[in-house]
Symmetry: C2
Subunit: 229 residues, 2 copies
């Protein structure tokens, strides 16, 4: 209880620059203090700070736990949204709940053309630290809907148009990797839906409620989680 | 598609002051225009604007649908949090997904002493309009944990302390009313947990992940929804 948590993806014993700065200048971590360090790849270290200097905050590992990964992989791809905070909110919440891969997708109805992946990664780092998630999600570079569809094994596409859709909760629970595509505000275009269906993606619905795009993304993430758990 | 949606809880044909102002001064709704009006009690009206004047925006009902309520009632009570935006976010998302009653609770570890219920109600109104949810949740006045426990039929308490807890997803699906209590940042105090257990509340866990308080509240809400759906 109370130990500060830091993120260091590298197999060395020095916190990266940003984390070192935060440790020494904001949290005023002192030599001898115990901290937790996670690498986002399943390693959770209890450590003791050994020096705080210009090179950064160095530490000795006292105890190391290797947390096995989940028995299934969850990948959510979402049509990018105009408000950045709603995308960041999705990334934060999905990271807390547990997600392996996140793909921002440029869709026909997306109201912006690019995203700040670096900012998304910072949100994911803050969330793994806050929730002590041993695994940090991979956040892929922005790609177009077409690029995504043609480069990934078909999964589920959650759209709101007419047509036969199974409830996502009836997904194939024997799968050990699930990918769900969720549209932007304004949904996928008819062309996108047709392209996905003919590439073998299965159309799903997320229930009766009309959800905002970022709510749909989190509901998709949590539905798979709850039922695979 | 494209019709503006307004909220009018009264059984008259004039939008309330705030909605009238928004209709006429922001959205520039004109006489003859078709709008949707929801009352938050299951009624969804397609209407035509008949006059726009100092009394407000008046309309004639063209078509009225009465949407039956869900076959179960879901009530989430949450320990109030320091950041208001995180509570408002929970209210927005829970309203989109569908919730009947929300109770902000003053807990031992709550880092604030009061909340703006009026603001919470505005968030819920915006969310029902946005998601066309036919029912708006009741938002109760702030009460203490003790007041809440002693005035409500026992349900589930999601805490993070040691002790036997069943997964919330194994809740009794034969219930037609479910109440879930979720703690503030820092969880319920030991006293609160003991008081709840001796009053008959059942301890539950929300899974392996360490969730922020508002994420826990939304996960609780969505878990019940998904499994009762």
């Amino acid at each position: 209880m109370g130990m500060h948590v830091f993120y260091n993806p590298e197999p060395n014993n020095v916190l990266p620059a940003g984390e070192s700065h935060h440790a020494t200048h904001v949290l005023r971590v002192a030599v001898g203090e115990k901290i937790k360090v996670i690498d986002g790849k399943g390693k959770v270290v209890t450590a003791e700070v050994t020096s705080v200097n210009a090179k950064g905050c160095e530490y000795n590992e006292l105890d190391t736990q290797a947390i096995p990964s989940r028995p299934f992989r969850l990948h959510v791809a979402f049509g990018i949204l105009k408000p950045s905070d709603r995308m960041e909110w999705f990334i934060e919440k999905a990271t807390e709940i547990g997600i392996d891969e996140i793909s921002p997708i440029l869709c026909d109805h997306s109201e912006r053309k690019n995203v700040n992946i670096n900012r998304f990664e910072k949100v994911a780092i803050a969330a793994v630290k806050q929730s002590m998630q041993p695994y940090i999600p991979v956040i892929n570079p922005l790609m177009t809907f077409k690029e995504f569809i043609t480069s990934h094994i078909p999964g589920y596409i959650a759209h709101c148009s007419d047509g036969i859709r199974i409830p996502l909760k009836d997904f194939d629970q024997s799968l050990n990797a699930v990918t769900v595509l969720v549209g932007p505000e304004g949904d996928f275009s008819t062309n996108e839906i047709e392209r996905a269906l003919s590439a073998g993606w299965q159309p799903v619905s997320l229930g009766e409620s009309r959800l905002r795009a970022e709510t749909a993304a989190i509901v998709a993430c949590h539905s798979i989680h709850l039922l695979k758990d």
